[in-house]
């Protein structure tokens, strides 16, 4: 029998907000790069999706910062938090922060991150990198969800096995 995994409430909430905002970021991001496939094709609709995407990316990056603080510096000493794959989650948070900068650069290519745009080969190539990282964000997070499930006491079932009496 695997050890029971204990997760503090704030961490559960953080992951909930992270996963929710990530889903919306990925959806609106793909809508942004495929306006005619998604149906958000009219300028007002595209503008709405872009703004919504930007808002959600902010939520994502702020949660990631909070998570990094909580996991690395602000963790209470008497915490019974024994959730596995901590390094994976830190990597996910860092990836989200990088994705935020990439999104910011895409929205304002001549803004303060114009150097990043130049580094990535100009606005057109940067859009391609953005699209590529949408896929990376999606797949890496799916892999995390699977890996976390594989580490849980439920695996390979969806529900936890009944305790032996």
């Amino acid at each position: 029998m695997k050890e029971k995994i204990r997760i503090p409430g704030p961490v559960k909430s953080m992951y909930g907000v992270y996963a929710g905002s990530l889903a919306l970021v990925i959806y609106s991001g793909f809508c942004r790069t495929h306006p005619f496939v998604s149906g958000w094709r009219y300028p007002w609709a595209m503008a709405l999706m872009n703004t919504f995407n930007f808002l959600m990316v902010w939520v994502l990056v702020l949660v990631s910062f909070v998570y990094l603080y909580y996991a690395l510096l602000g963790k209470p000493k008497d915490s019974d938090w024994n959730e596995p794959l901590g390094i994976f989650r830190i990597a996910l948070a860092l990836l989200a922060i990088w994705f935020f900068f990439l999104s910011f650069a895409i929205y304002q290519p001549w803004g303060w991150l114009s150097g990043l745009i130049s580094l990535l080969g100009g606005p057109a190539k940067s859009l391609k990198w953005y699209e590529l990282f949408l896929w990376v964000m999606l797949l890496v997070n799916l892999i995390y969800v699977y890996a976390r499930w594989a580490k849980s006491e439920r695996f390979p079932r969806l529900t936890a096995p009944k305790k032996a009496e």
Binding site: F36, P109, W110, W112, G121, G122, P123, K128, W135, L142
Partner: protein
């Protein structure tokens, strides 16, 4: 305005149209009306000089239909000097510049069309005459030509703001491309040498859209009157007009997404819907509102007329974005150039296979483990 038989209703309509032109909210109409009234009564002066230009941007301004250019020149902006539309010539014309320098310190907006040549003492572009005389080739004493660089040194310090009209003035454009034999220099650099504190606004385009010119001049005037703010990007271009990627609003974007490209100019494309990316369209790297604003009284624009966007509003035009009919380079990975979506789907497939294989392996192993455990129990 009343003297010109303009009713209050017409005037407010004009202010509303100006707000629409600038992309401002309707709540700004009273402030714009007030600013225009002050501008009209005070005749805010605009001085328009030309450097190494083709006069295309001036011709574009003359195509302005709302407001009509005559209204703009005489009522709204009071353009005191413009080589193509002023009636005066010779000393009568250049005296206006000298008077403006003396009498209108800090009041006029200087619009410069075309870059400033700096090689050979700037003699590639002159207008008017210098004070004092010089000797010609025959040894006769004649007045010396005055270069635009000299004019800039005199006109920039008293100007309230400087506007670089068109891509050539803003970024060097065609005169700066390739050899650049004349030493063409963007206006902003020249202004920075003369007075680094002077506000400069760049307008892209070859030529610049009349709305971009009038809108930017009005934005600058409203800013100087304290009625609005200059919302500029890092290239000192107004976000009102240069804030959207052409590619995002392009009417042929659907074809780009679907991978339907025009491969040859003789290709059969009766509906004119195929994406011209492979034929050199620079829409994916150019920020301008051409697809929405359109040209010639909103009739059409380059892509609508089956010509690829040349990126004339981009700071990279012409040098970096040429050859005009060569496609932009895509994302290059070593040895392969896959479309991002294809790569994404392949990675998704690989992930699914990996996860599935791991699950099956673990489940089969778990069953074996369970059997073993059960046996022990």
């Amino acid at each position: 305005m009343a003297g010109k038989t303009v009713s209050r209703r017409q005037f407010l309509k004009h202010a509303g149209a100006t707000a629409a032109l600038l992309g401002l909210s309707e709540v700004m109409i009273p402030q714009i009306a007030q600013a225009l009234e002050e501008l009209a009564s005070g005749k805010p002066p605009v001085i328009w000089i030309q450097g190494q230009n083709c006069t295309g941007c001036s011709i574009s301004l003359l195509n302005s239909n709302y407001p009509m250019v005559a209204e703009l020149v005489l009522n709204d902006l009071s353009i005191r000097y413009h080589p193509n539309v002023m009636a005066a010539a010779g000393y009568t014309a250049t005296d206006v510049l000298d008077e403006s320098i003396k009498d209108l310190k800090g009041k006029y907006v200087l619009v410069v069309e075309g870059p400033v040549p700096t090689k050979e003492d700037g003699e590639f572009c002159t207008f008017g005459l210098q004070k004092g005389k010089t000797k010609d080739l025959m040894g006769n004493k004649v007045p010396a030509d005055k270069t635009i660089h000299e004019w800039m040194k005199e006109l920039v310090p008293p100007a309230a703001a400087v506007i670089a009209g068109g891509n050539c003035a803003s970024f060097g454009g065609i005169p700066l491309a390739n050899a650049g034999v004349t030493g063409a220099t963007p206006v902003s650099k020249i202004v920075a040498e003369i007075d680094s504190e002077k506000p400069v606004v760049n307008i892209g385009g070859c030529p610049a859209h009349p709305d971009w010119i009038t809108g930017t001049v009005l934005e600058a005037l409203l800013f100087l009157k304290g009625k609005g703010k200059l919302n500029l990007n890092s290239h000192k271009m107004s976000r009102t007009f240069f804030g959207q990627l052409i590619h995002e609003n392009c009417e042929r974007r659907a074809s780009f997404d679907a991978g339907l490209f025009l491969e040859d100019w003789n290709q059969d494309d009766p509906d004119m819907k195929l994406c011209m990316f492979k034929m050199g369209c620079k829409g994916p790297v150019t920020y301008a509102d051409c697809p929405v604003r359109r040209w010639n009284s909103k009739v059409n624009w380059c892509v609508g007329a089956s010509a690829p966007c040349h990126g004339c509003a981009s700071p990279d035009f012409y040098k970096t974005l040429s050859p005009l009919y060569e496609p932009l380079p895509n994302v290059n990975f070593p040895g392969i150039t896959p479309a991002v979506d294809t790569l994404g789907w392949v990675a998704a497939g690989a992930t699914a296979v990996g996860v599935g294989a791991h699950y099956l392996y673990k489940q089969l192993g778990h069953k074996g483990e369970e059997t073993g455990e059960g046996g022990e129990k």
